[in-house]
């Protein structure tokens, strides 16, 4: 019987068993949607909060507006001044409003007397969502304070610039688009996770699992080239890994459709990009399957294999995410690091940056070379009969 036929027979059985394994199916069919779902939720939050701040302006509830008509008039130029709730602190605590400005009755008198006139700004610093409104209110109050101070100085014949030795000009270049783009950096991370989690149950089941159920011994007693056995098990894991990858990528491609059209930025996730991302990920699928089968075959038992592979998954995923968040261009040598190179190239694609064929080619070649190395190791492990007995 030919090598290829041996491979095919074992491969077909791995697929059949995988399809009948609920754990493998959940890993391959449901988990992959987690990443896209998370991204969709985060993006819609970003777009909501930025739309509110950028377009609708900030609501500013003011209590005691009759105490400072001038101040309120000034505030109205930067925010929508509305009536404050009866108990400002309780309302803020409950999150009914983001911020309340309380102007006490003595405000006008203190102002006229030239004493610091107290106002109270009620906020909840622990609420992330409330921060833009609170910051806007503080900003307006500071501006009015400066303006009033300047007027007083002018009246006394002093140029206002004298008390402003420093002129800090803050320029916030972040836009909804760039804030959302930093979220896109999580996409390569989720793709790597999908590659590993999709194939993991099958890789473990086909090696450590078979040993635990003692079904490897009859398999090793059958006239099969051990290399066919090892590679068929890798191929089986690859199929489920690819399935998870395909779903994750499809999920990400659907994210823009699931969100309101006015996202404020464009996501570069059309069909062409998704296809290129999938092609880029194929070497990762091969390498992850080879790694998982090799390590699981050498693991002491089923549980040890699970622990090892769960840790293995984080090793390539985390540095990729860190580098994806960096804005500087990474050094070329990083593209030759398996898993990292792919994540860098994918990040470039998502940011609509130029990716040279050299970078993509380098990362694919490096990953495939690593795959060959690991597969050779797996074949050696199988030829020694190591998966059969305790390592």
């Amino acid at each position: 019987m030919s090598w290829l036929r041996s491979f095919r027979v074992v491969f077909a059985k791995e697929i059949l068993e995988g399809i009948r394994d609920r754990r493998a199916l959940v890993a391959a069919l449901f988990f992959p949607f987690l990443g896209p779902a998370l991204l969709a939720v985060m993006l819609s939050l970003v777009s909501q909060s930025s739309r509110r701040a950028d377009e609708e302006g900030v609501d500013l509830p003011v209590a005691g507006r009759e105490n400072a008509p001038n101040l309120v008039h000034f505030l109205e130029q930067g925010a929508r001044v509305v009536a404050a709730p009866g108990d400002p602190e309780e309302a803020v605590r409950r999150g009914e409003v983001d911020v309340v400005l309380v102007i006490p009755p003595g405000f006008g008198e203190a102002l006229r007397a030239g004493r610091p006139a107290a106002v109270r700004l009620v906020t909840d610093e622990s609420r992330q969502q409330a921060r833009p409104s609170a910051a806007a209110a503080e900003h307006l109050l500071a501006a009015w304070s400066r303006q009033t101070a300047a007027q007083r100085l002018v009246v006394r014949g002093i140029h206002p610039a004298v008390v402003e030795p420093l002129a800090v000009e803050r320029v916030d270049v972040s836009t909804p688009a760039s804030r959302a783009a930093s979220l896109l950096a999580t996409i390569p991370f989720f793709l790597v996770m999908a590659v590993f989690t999709g194939g993991m149950p099958v890789a473990i089941d086909a090696t450590a699992g078979e040993r635990e159920r003692q079904s490897l011994e009859p398999l090793f007693a059958a006239p099969l080239p051990r290399s066919a056995l090892a590679l068929a098990k890798m191929a089986g894991a690859s199929v489920f890994s690819s399935l998870a990858l395909l779903e994750t990528a499809t999920g990400f491609a659907l994210v823009p459709l699931a969100l309101p059209s006015r996202l404020g930025f464009s996501m570069h996730l059309d069909l062409g990009i998704v296809t290129r991302i999938l092609l880029l990920c194929l070497p990762m699928v091969a390498l992850s399957s080879a790694l998982m089968v090799t390590l699981a075959a050498r693991a002491r038992n089923f549980r040890a294999a699970q622990t090892t592979l769960s840790l293995l998954m984080l090793v390539p995923a985390l540095p990729g995410m860190a580098i994806g968040l960096m804005s500087a261009r990474p050094p070329p040598s990083l593209y030759a690091v398996p898993f990292l190179g792919e994540q860098l190239v994918i990040t470039h694609l998502l940011r609509a940056e130029d990716v040279g064929p050299a970078q993509a080619g380098l990362s694919a070649a490096a990953t495939l070379a690593a795959t060959a190395l690991v597969a050779a190791l797996a074949i050696r492990t199988f030829e020694r009969g190591q998966p059969l007995f305790d390592a």
Binding site: P218, F220, A221, G385
Partner: protein, 243 residues
């Protein structure tokens, strides 16, 4: 025919086999008898090619396992110590899977599987997944799987272990049938009654060495004991590990 020539195997500091030589002829049932830990399973594993000997060699129909493992394994039907079934495959799927590994396919393989299901009386559970099978059902599946390619040599590691009386009798009948068909049958056991009921030849193994070999009558004569059990104890020199 199965031959072991000076086979030695150590696991770390433990010498499981220390130069084992014996021959298993065709058309006979040969029993590999020995106390627990004597090296029976190690010897069988070397015969069916999942372990490599440190020294010596094992041959199946004259083919050296170290030279052409696949050719030797094609002529072997193997029932390992543990049945090792796939819980998500049906009994019949096990038979088909191993049939395909041995190069069978299509209608011929389906007919062969049907024949084995009938031969082993597996009609009731042939198309059920093996999860929750009784020990007897598991052994039957493993036997069908071992015989799917009509092997000239059959190696069984304690085939009746854990079986009830009816199932044990069925397995014994099957082994006799395999002998009538002219096959070479090698099985291991530590149960005396089984060996005396079935075997044409006995190889007694203890502490990794062959301590006696021959027909049950030879054994009794050589040791000067009436029962095979006494002969066995005399041969291995102790009662330790006997079942």
């Amino acid at each position: 025919m199965i031959e072991l020539e000076g086979v030695a195997k150590a696991f770390g500091a433990i010498e499981a086999l220390r130069g084992v030589t014996f021959t298993v002829p065709d058309g006979q049932i040969t029993g590999l008898l020995g106390p627990n830990g004597a090296g029976k399973t190690t010897a069988l594993r070397i015969v069916y090619g999942v372990l490599r000997p440190d020294r010596g060699r094992a041959l199946v129909n004259g083919v050296d396992l170290a030279g052409d493992r696949l050719a030797a394994q094609r002529r072997l039907g193997v029932l390992p110590h543990a049945q090792g079934l796939y819980t998500r495959l049906t009994a019949r799927e096990h038979v088909l899977y191993f049939g395909e590994m041995h190069g069978l396919s299509g209608a011929a393989l389906a007919r062969r599987a049907d024949g084995l299901v009938r031969l082993l009386g597996m009609e009731d559970f042939a198309d059920r997944r093996t999860e929750g099978f009784s020990q007897g059902q598991k052994v039957k599946v493993a036997l069908a799987r071992a015989l799917v390619h009509d092997p000239e040599n059959v190696v069984l590691d304690e085939p009746t272990n854990g079986l009830d009386v009816a199932a044990t009798r069925q397995v014994r009948a099957l082994l006799r049938q395999l002998r009538e068909e002219g096959r070479c049958v090698l099985f291991s056991s530590h149960v005396m009654q089984e060996v005396s009921a079935l075997c044409d030849r006995v190889v007694v193994i203890a502490r990794g060495q062959v301590v006696a070999e021959g027909t049950p009558d030879d054994l009794r004569r050589e040791t000067g004991r009436e029962s095979l059990e006494d002969a066995f104890v005399a041969a291995i020199g102790s009662e330790e590990g006997l079942g």
